[in-house]
Symmetry: C2
């Protein structure tokens, strides 16, 4: 008898993954500072973040770390499905939990289960869209515009959860944290923004 499917498995994975992969899912907690994988390492397991916050980053040649993505939920480094090596680091910035599953089993399932392949394509399409939006955001001039764009595109009806504080968000926006703090303060003074319970809330404003 195969392993029973863990009842903690999030809805998304339940709908996405075929049963035989679901039974292979393993849960593990992750704490702030953990490194889920490192650039150059060989991927063995596909990771899905259910709680907490993870940052994908790469170190430039001057040793500065560039944030590629900040994830609060979803697959971490989906491209590792076919990559021989990770091309960035994954660092936990807020404690939470990850689901791990063998990459091999996903590859097999993609080949054998066409409905699953279709769902996987759909997931990748969403990822492409999100990344295009992030590129658009990073092309904007001015911290305020980037922040508003972030809340509009990633938020839910103008509400954006803050994860592990504004500082990590600043890195994702490609600005210094000081600049972001000032932008938030200015927008609050303008009445366009509200800070409540670890959320940024967009108000109609002036």
């Amino acid at each position: 008898m195969p392993d029973p499917i863990d009842s903690r498995l999030p809805e998304t994975l339940r709908k996405l993954l075929p049963v035989e992969v679901q039974t292979l899912c393993a849960f593990s907690p992750c704490t702030r500072g953990d490194v889920l994988f490192r650039q150059g390492k060989k991927p063995a397991r596909m990771l899905y973040l259910t709680r907490g916050e993870v940052v994908l980053q790469r170190v430039g040649r001057q040793g500065e770390s560039v944030v590629l993505q900040r994830a609060r939920r979803g697959f971490i480094g989906e491209a590792s499905l076919e990559s021989a090596r990770y091309h960035c680091d994954a660092v936990v910035t807020a404690s939470g939990e990850v689901v791990a599953m063998p990459i091999v089993s996903i590859r097999q399932a993609l080949a054998a289960d066409s409905a699953f392949a279709r769902r996987w394509v759909s997931m990748l399409n969403q990822e492409v869209k999100r990344l295009r939006a992030q590129c658009e955001r990073l092309s904007l001039r001015g911290v305020k515009e980037r922040l508003l764009h972030l809340i509009e595109t990633e938020g839910d009806a103008g509400r954006l959860p803050l994860g592990s504080g504004l500082k990590s968000m600043a890195a994702e926006l490609g600005v210094s944290h000081e600049a972001l703090y000032r932008a938030v303060a200015a927008l609050e003074k303008q009445g366009m923004l509200l800070r409540q319970e670890n959320h940024l809330i967009l108000t109609g404003g002036v």
Copy 2:
């Protein structure tokens, strides 16, 4: 008897697409200024650029156009596979040629042909990687760093074709064209960069 496969079909598509989709490919020239599709329109055909240059852009609320991507070869807006609407405009910036195929046939092929689905996933993975690289690039401070990063990641052994000039590249890098011209000039003076035959060439340099 089905249509014969057009001999102009590029190698990439020949390897990617199943034969029944290849026979449905239609070629059409595109000239500078053409709009391949517009934000909000319903996607009917999947487009693949073989020659020329196309820019995917979205207009901000102040009417400024933000470049999401600049393509010289490859699918234009793959995400339209599942989208009800395009979420950006596609404008031709350098005359060339596009291959068009019905989206419906691709969807059908994805469902019926698991090997094709696997290749499609592979293509999307590459796209995700490229977009992550672009995000990384846009996070870099300074025009020079962004330019060097572009040549390193998108170029071929330090050689990057210039498509339709530096101006469109400036938009992709998220900087003003003046700043890019100055950066190129400075890097040339430093001996790190060379301009030849519509190419930017990275030299070991000082």
